[in-house]
Amino acid sequence: MSNLMSGSKILLECLVREGVDTIYGYPGGVTIPFYDAMYDHPIRHVLVRHEQNAAFAAQGYVRATGKTGVCCATSGPGATNLTTGLVDALLDSIPIVALTGQVTSTLIGTDAFQEADTFGITRSATKHNFLIKNIADLPQAIHEAFYIASSGRPGPVLVDITKDVFQGNMQYNPVTSIHLPGYKVYTEGHTGQIRRAAQMMLEAERPMVYAGGGVIHSEASAELRELVELVDSPTVCTLMGLGALPGNHPNYISMPGMHGSYAANMGMYNTDLIIALGVRFDDRVTGRLKAFAPHAKVIHVDIDPSEISKNRNADLPIVGDVKRVLQKLNAVLREMNPSAMDRPGLRAWWKQVRDWKAEHPLEPSFSTTEIKPQHLMAEIERISKGEAIVATDVGQHQMWAAQHISFNKPRLWLTSGGLGSMGFGLPASVGAQMACPNQLVFCIVGDGGFQMSLPELATIVNHGLPIKIICMNNGYLGMVRQWQQLFYNNRLSQVTLDGFPDPVHLAAAYGFKGSTVSHPSQLRAALEMAVAEPGPYLLNVKVSPEENVYPMVPAGGAINEMVLGPPSPVEVPR
C-alpha cells in the first residue's frame, strides 16, 4: 500500500528521470496539488509574472544550453497565455515540454470554471500534444513528450493533465521503453547522396554554404567549420544560425536576407551551388522566391523531410541530422583532398565576394550629436568580443544587433526568428542567465517590446540575475515606423511610444539600478558601468529616432535588389 504515489509526485519523478532541474511556471486552481508536491522537491520552480514568459524563459534556457526546457501553467487562462510561447518554439524548433492543468476529467465539456480546450487550442501550436485523464497514462505520456520534443526536428510538446490525475494515486513503475511506431526520425543521411554531394561541392565554381538554426540544434558547429574549410566556401548564417560558424572565421560573410549584408545577398544570388544546412528557405531569407539564386543547384540537408523542396526545389536532397551527415560528408571530402586541387573558378569567386564586401561593408554609422543604433551595437560588440550571450526582442534593434554583434560560438544569440514575438527578449534572458549564471548576458530590447514583458523585472530581481538590459529607445515602434515611412508615404499610424517610464525610477521601484544615456560621448562609459554592476542593470539608450535598418530587401523584392540606404534626405515630421 505504501507504494502508492500521487499523480503529482509521479510527474515530478518522471521529470527527474528526464534530467529536469528547472520549471518556469505560474500556479492556479487545478495545479495546486502539483505545486503542493513541488513545495519540498529539489526541482527548482521559477515563478514568472505571466505564463507567456514561462514559455519564453524556458526557451531562453534551451537556446543557451541545448537541453529540453519545461514550463507549467494552470488550466484556462494559464494555458491560453502559454500559446504564443509555444508557437514561437514551434517555428524556431525549440524543444520545450509544457505542462498544463485541466479541470477534473468528469467536468471536461461542461464549461467548468477555468475550462478551456487546451488540447484543441494547442494542436497547431505544438509538435504534438497529450490530454491525460487517467493517471495510468501519465508516466508514459511524460516520457513520450520529452522524446518527441528533443528528437528529430525539435519542438514544443504539451501535456494537459486533469486535476484528478494530479490528485489520484497509483503504484508507480518507471517507464522503461516508449513506442511511437508512426514517429520516424531519419538521422543518418543516404551514403550515396552524401558522396554525390561531395562531388558537386568540389565541382562548383561559386559555392555558398547557407547554414541555419538546424546546425545549432544538432550541435554541428565543429563539423560545419570543417566542411567550409574543406570546400573553402563562403558561408552565410541565417538569423537562427548566427554563431554556427564563428563570426570572425575567414569564410564567414554575414547574415543573408531582408536585412542581410550586400555581400551575403549578392553571394546568394550569384552562387552556382547552395549548400543548405538546417535551413528552410524562409521568405525573409529568399525574398521573391522565383528570383532567388537563379543559377544555383541546391543541396539541402535537413532532418525534416517536409522541409526538402518545400520552398525551393532541392537538386540533391539529404534527409538526416546535419551533424551526422556532415561527419560523413567531411570524411568523403577529406579523402578527395580538395586542398590539392586547382580550382580557378573558386579563386575568382572569392575575389568577387571580397569585392562585394568592400563595396558595401556592414559598417556602423556614427554621429557626434546623437547615438546611432549601429553605434550602440558596435559598443556592445566591443565589450562582448563574440563571447557574451545576447537575447533580443523583435524589431529594428534586433536587426542591428544581428548585423553588428558577432558570436564566436553557437547558443549565444537568442532571438525569436520565425514568429518574431515581441516580448521575447526579457524572459528569454532570464532563462539564459539562470542556465549560465557566470556568463555575461545582454538583453537588448526595443522600447516597445520591453514593455510587453516588463513585469519580469521582478523575476530578475527575485533571483538576483545580473542581466544587462539595454533598451534601445527610439521612441517608436521602430520597425513598423520604418515600413510606414518607406512604403506608406510616412503616414505614421500608431507607432509613437509616449510615456516610457523613467528608467532610474523604474529600476529603483524593483530594487535595482538604471540610467539613461543619450550622448554618444557617454555611451561607452555607460555600458561599462552597466557591465561592472554586480546585479542587474537597466540602461536606457536614447538613439536617433528616425534611423532605418539597411540594407533592406523590400517585401516581395529579389535579394539582389537591395535598398542600401535612404534614397534621398527624407523629411520626417516630429
Binding site: 528521470r17 488540447f119 484543441g120 494542436r123 497547431s124 509538435k127 504534438h128 500534444n129 490530454l131 516520457h143 522524446y147 518527441i148 528528437s151 528529430g152 518507471p174 517507464v175 522503461t176 521503453s177 516508449i178 513506442h179 511511437l180 511506431p181 508512426g182 514517429y183 520516424k184 526520425v185 531519419y186 538521422t187 543518418e188 543521411g189 543516404h190 551514403t191 550515396g192 547522396q193 525534416d304 523531410p305 517536409s306 526538402i308 523542396s309 518545400k310 526545389n313 532541392a314 536532397p317 539529404i318 534527409v319 538526416g320 551526422r324
Partner: protein, 187 residues
C-alpha cells in the same frame, strides 16, 4: 485538383483532429472523409478526398507523415487504386411506379433494405459517379432522401509500411539509413 489520400492512423483521440487541422489550416475543403478501424483495432484507415493546390500535393503528404499518430499517408491519386462508395436512399414510391423503381434499382445493383406502403429504402455501392447517376434517376421518380458514406479507396500496389521500433528510455534516437527510396519518391 482533387487528391485522394489514404492514411493508416493510430486509433487515438485527437488523431483525426490533427489530420483535418492540417487541411483546414490551409483553407481547403474536404470533399469526403471516411474512417474505420482496421483488422488491428488499435489502428484506423482513413480515406480523404480533398481539393489541394497543385504545388502543395507532396507537401501535404509529407506533413501528414510527420504527425506522430500517422503510420503512413499515401497519395492514391497517382497509382492504381479502386474506389467505392455506399449510398442509402429512401424513395417515395406510389403504387404505379413501384415496379419501375425496382427495375432501375436492379440495373444499378442496389438492394432493397426496407419496403413499406410509402416506398423503399435502397442500398447501393459503386464508384462515386455511378452513384450520382443512380441518385439522379431515382430523383426523377419523386422526392428522395439520401445518405452517402464517402469514398473508401484501396491501393492496388503493395506499399511497404515502415514503422519505428520501441525506444529504450535513455537510449539514443533510433537511426535509419536507406533514405534513398523515401527521398527519391518524394522529389
Amino acid at each position: 485538383m482533387q487528391q485522394v489520400i489514404s492514411l493508416l492512423v493510430e486509433n487515438k483521440p485527437g488523431a483525426l483532429m490533427r489530420i483535418v487541422g492540417l487541411i483546414s489550416a490551409r483553407g481547403w475543403n474536404i470533399d469526403s472523409l471516411t474512417v474505420a478501424k482496421t483488422l488491428d483495432t488499435s489502428l484506423s484507415r482513413m480515406t480523404i478526398a480533398v481539393a489541394v493546390d497543385d504545388h502543395m500535393r507532396r507537401q501535404v503528404i509529407k506533413q501528414m507523415n510527420k504527425l506522430i499518430n500517422v503510420l503512413q499517408a499515401t497519395d492514391l491519386s497517382e497509382g492504381p487504386s479502386v474506389t467505392r462508395e455506399m449510398v442509402l436512399m429512401r424513395v417515395r414510391a406510389p403504387q404505379e411506379s413501384r415496379t419501375a423503381i425496382l427495375k432501375e434499382a436492379e440495373i444499378f445493383g442496389a438492394r432493397v433494405v426496407d419496403s413499406s406502403v410509402e416506398g423503399f429504402a435502397l442500398e447501393a455501392t459503386g464508384e462515386t459517379e455511378k452513384l450520382d447517376e443512380f441518385a439522379d434517376i431515382m430523383r426523377s421518380y419523386g422526392e428522395i432522401e439520401i445518405t452517402r458514406s464517402g469514398a473508401v479507396t484501396l491501393s492496388l500496389e503493395a506499399k511497404k509500411l515502415r514503422l519505428s521500433p520501441p525506444v529504450t528510455k535513455g537510449a539514443q534516437v533510433h537511426e535509419t539509413d536507406g533514405q534513398e527510396k523515401l527521398v527519391h519518391k518524394t522529389n
